[in-house]
Subunit: 195 residues, 2 copies
């Protein structure tokens, strides 16, 4: 029961962290806030997660698991044509962003100062880039990639279009609806990259 309580506490902390970050993104959420929200002492948090970056990393993984990213992104891999794949990927990732925005924002804020956080975020974004790369390759294999576009540049462009910062700018700063955002990204990707 003690060992299960150990795990339960860990989960409680991660759950509280993701809840707080999701509730008030942009607000600086402190370790003590997370501790309080978990119903645990600040030091208990440090017992489970040596640093803030460690907690953030674990929380991100935890969220991926709870939200089942793999399944959410599976549709795009099942697509037959390149165009479908591109569309499905934009749909999947574009709609995943708001679900992880709180944690993402915390990462982006720490990135500048914390080495470990920067590396972890880079990893996640590299993984996302692979999705972009696969969509572009599928497009190219169909002969549907706009002529004169090399795959790497096309991937970079798509990657930029689908960055969390672009989502943030349009949805948070400009006040676009999630649907308008996804449609705009599809439109941009289509007109820019598809022949």
């Amino acid at each position: 029961m003690m060992s299960s309580s150990n795990l339960e506490t860990r989960e409680k902390i991660m759950a509280a962290a993701s809840r707080l970050l999701e509730e008030k993104p942009g607000t600086a959420v402190r370790m003590s806030d997370i501790a309080k929200a978990s119903g645990v002492s600040r030091q208990a948090v440090y017992l489970h997660f040596p640093t803030r970056a460690d907690l953030l990393i674990a929380t991100a993984r935890h969220l991926d698991q709870v939200l089942n990213v793999d399944e959410q992104l599976a549709a795009s891999r099942a697509a037959t044509s390149g165009r479908e794949r591109l569309d499905a990927y934009i749909d999947a990732w574009g709609n995943y962003i708001p679900q992880i925005y709180g944690v993402a924002r915390a990462f982006l804020a720490m990135e500048a100062t914390d080495e470990a956080a920067a590396a972890a975020w880079k990893d996640r974004m590299d993984a996302m880039r692979h999705g972009c790369e696969a969509a572009v390759r599928a497009l190219a294999e169909d002969g549907d990639l706009k002529p004169g576009f090399d795959q790497e540049k096309a991937t970079d462009l798509l990657w930029t279009l689908l960055s969390v910062r672009t989502w943030e700018h349009l949805v948070q700063d400009c006040g676009w609806s999630q649907q308008a955002y996804v449609e705009a990204m599809k439109y941009m990707a289509e007109t820019a990259l598809v022949a």
Copy 2:
């Protein structure tokens, strides 16, 4: 002579700040670093600029003046057609970004925590948005705005495309050349917004 030295010190501090930020963007530049680089005590900096945000704001204005933003952006206002105006604006602003990137990055890092810095940065970006708005309006007046696009959405899209974060992503993270960046932004804006 004392009153002129007063101004000189102020300028020295702002010059040192912009130099340090430009030299090592991404590195956290502290007030004490700026003081040292200015050849002045840390408290002298606080004598001239009550807070870090104040220093940043003044430095940004100072930089605008030294680099002569107005002139750099003038070409776009002189353009006759909407398409020319769009192109000229992307050219001007897109090439201005790297010149202010150091300071911009400092603002973006502070934005999350500092109210004053966030407001000042928002002001600057709103001013930039007016440029986007004007370009889109000129396009619409020529009947060259893609049908089914309302001007506000088009402005938002262009604004997002020309954000410092987009520049950062492509040039800093993806390693694109400044020229490739500007061309890509022109291409994206053209294919997405021009009829």
